[in-house]
Amino acid sequence: MITLNNVTKTYSLSKPGEYTAVHDVTVELPARQITVFKGPSGSGKTSLLTLIGCMVRPTSGRIHLHGMAEQFPFQKDESAPLEITGLPERFLTTIRRTTFGFIFQQCNLITGISVLENVMLPAYTTGERLSKVRERALLLLEQFAVVRHAHRRVDLLSGGEAQRVAIARALINNPTILIADEPTAHLDSKLSHEFMEIVFRLKQEGKTVLIASHDPIVTDSVQRDRVVELRDGVICEQGSNR
């Protein structure tokens, strides 16, 4: 489980253009479920996901990861939840590498290199043998039906194919939590439904999935477990699917 307690994120603090994207958010996000953050553009969905994913530090408040402390040698008390907001950058990197898998709105694949290399990229720094990583990457590409493009440059892929490659990349280090920011923004409805099916499959494999979206195919999907609605950086509604 992930808990956020009074989390606030203000950009350009004490500078002209100061802007609070997330304001005093307190929420519990259960493990092994699909949680969808919905809301209009600028409601703070992306900011909330980047905060949870350790990509940016909150201005105030705390974020805890429950039941994962034993994975990290720097956590002394294994029974206590892992408080990630105050951790030094090197520990946050470890958490990003091992716990989270990110799927970005624009896919954010590295252009100019092959599909296979893109998928392998998060594992380069783990010190694992490339041959093993390559094997795993090919399996994932096969799983997402893009293995035939493994040696093509990512620039040449269609939107749906790029999205699948991004999912494969997010899963290469076998993370516990998958974070997807507007994953269907550039997909047609068929591909969006396919994406939700993939996500559902991942949930069944035991992954926790957090999605930020205002696409009805995602927000109203039967596969999601929980919806958290945001407006102006504040949670205005949350509820379960069932």
Binding site: T50, G53, M55, V56, R57, E89, R90, T93, T94, R96, R97, T98, F102, F104, N108, I110, T111, G112, I113, E117, L121, P122, A123, Y124, T125, T126, G127, E128, R129, L130, V133, R169, A170, N173
Partner: protein, 378 residues
């Protein structure tokens, strides 16, 4: 568990495949870098080899040369000075020398003319350097005239031409007998150009020189080490002159490299943000940039140095030789003995490769220390 070796290997692997993404940019950088190293390394190799060659040739020079000064200018030295110097304790041998310069109005060249008793020359037969032979277009056995102060020119036969290996010192040399020398320059009898002095113990050279200066107030003793230093300085100076000319090229390269290395585009900053967001540490990003810098600078350095080595030692440095070998019209043509000064190469390495890698890492470090989200937005 993270193994450092694998991590380095993986990141190096990615760095190499990354280079292909900006092939045009990297290729132009590699070419310029290589060219710069080639020019600088050629200069270093050439000056080092010349200095070594000069030092080798000076090994046979006399320990001490005594000249006579009149009104601050070199004048002919009387024969009796030799007898006086020979009587000084520690002096093993004194040899009076006859030598001078001959200006050849036919081609504007200056020859060094030396009188010698050696059997290679006889009256009317001279040995000449290959530069003289080239400029006069003469071969062994042929006759060549030299204008003398008398009414008739001195006609000499080419007895021998010095081999190219001794070209640095002998390209412009004419060796003839003392008698021909006197005729050629109308040189007064009983006087010499200078005296070559050999001592029994080289450690006593400064002491002997001081005694000579005390005995003949108008004499100027010159130690062999001073001549060697002069040669070294001349080549250093000429090398420095070229380096100065090349400075603009070096500066252009530095600006170019700095621009290429430091100018992080929005795309590059975003890439660093992506890498950090997928679990790359700041040190991983810097390691990637380090390997990228190495992948450009090390091959460029290696290619530049190898090309310079071939240019200097296989092709006799056609780009630099006119400036560095001499100012004379008679450029010596000789194959330099390969000599590589490792310390100079290290200096070149530290002044080219290290700054480039540093210039590559620093701007990336700034972005890599940002939050992934901030880096992607920047």
């Amino acid at each position: 568990m993270i193994t450092t070796r694998e991590r380095h290997r993986n990141i190096l692997d990615f760095a190499l495949s990354s280079l292909g993404r900006r092939a045009g940019r990297n290729l132009s950088l590699l070419t310029m870098y290589c060219l710069l190293i080639f020019v600088l390394a050629s200069l270093l190799f050439f000056v080092s080899a010349l200095k070594r060659e000069a030092a080798r040739l000076l090994e046979d020079a006399p320990d001490l040369v005594v000249q006579r000064l009149v009104a601050g200018r070199q004048d002919l030295i009387p024969e009796n000075y030799g007898a006086g110097i020979a009587a000084i304790r520690g002096v093993a041998h004194v040899e009076p020398r006859l030598w001078g310069y001959y200006f050849d109005s036919w081609n504007g060249a200056n020859y060094t003319v030396i009188a010698s008793d050696k059997p290679t020359v006889k009256d009317g037969i001279a040995a000449i350097g290959s530069g003289v032979a080239r400029s006069r277009k003469i071969h062994a056995g042929e006759l060549f005239p030299l204008r003398s102060p008398g009414t008739e020119p001195l006609l000499l036969e080419v007895g021998a031409i010095f081999p190219g290996t001794s070209d640095l010192m002998a390209a412009d040399l004419i060796i003839l007998t003392p008698s021909d020398f006197h005729t050629l320059f109308n040189f007064p009898q009983g006087k010499f150009t200078d005296l070559a002095v050999t001592v029994t113990n080289r450690k006593e050279l400064p002491m002997v020189a001081a005694k000579i200066a005390a005995l003949y107030a108008d004499s100027r003793p010159i130690l062999k080490s001073e001549i060697q230093r002069t040669y070294q300085s001349i080549f250093d100076w000429r090398g420095g002159m070229i380096l100065l000319v090349l400075l603009s090229a070096v500066l252009s390269f530095i600006i170019f490299a700095w621009d290429r290395a430091t100018g992080l585009s929005a795309e590059e900053r975003k890439e660093i943000g992506i890498l950090k967001s997928i679990g790359w540490d700041t040190s991983d990003v810097l390691l990637l940039k380090f390997w990228e810098g190495c992948a450009i600078s090390l091959p460029a350095f290696l290619c530049g140095v190898i090309a310079a080595y071939c240019h200097v030692f296989f092709f006799s440095a056609p780009f630099f030789s006119p400036v560095l070998k001499g100012w004379s019209i008679l450029y010596p043509q000789f194959q330099l003995v390969p000599v590589v000064d490792i310390s100079q190469l290290l200096v070149l390495f530290f002044f080219t490769v290290v700054p480039y890698i540093t210039a590559t890492i620093i701007p990336n470090w700034r972005t890599a220390t940002m939050d992934p989200d901030a880096a992607m937005r920047s």
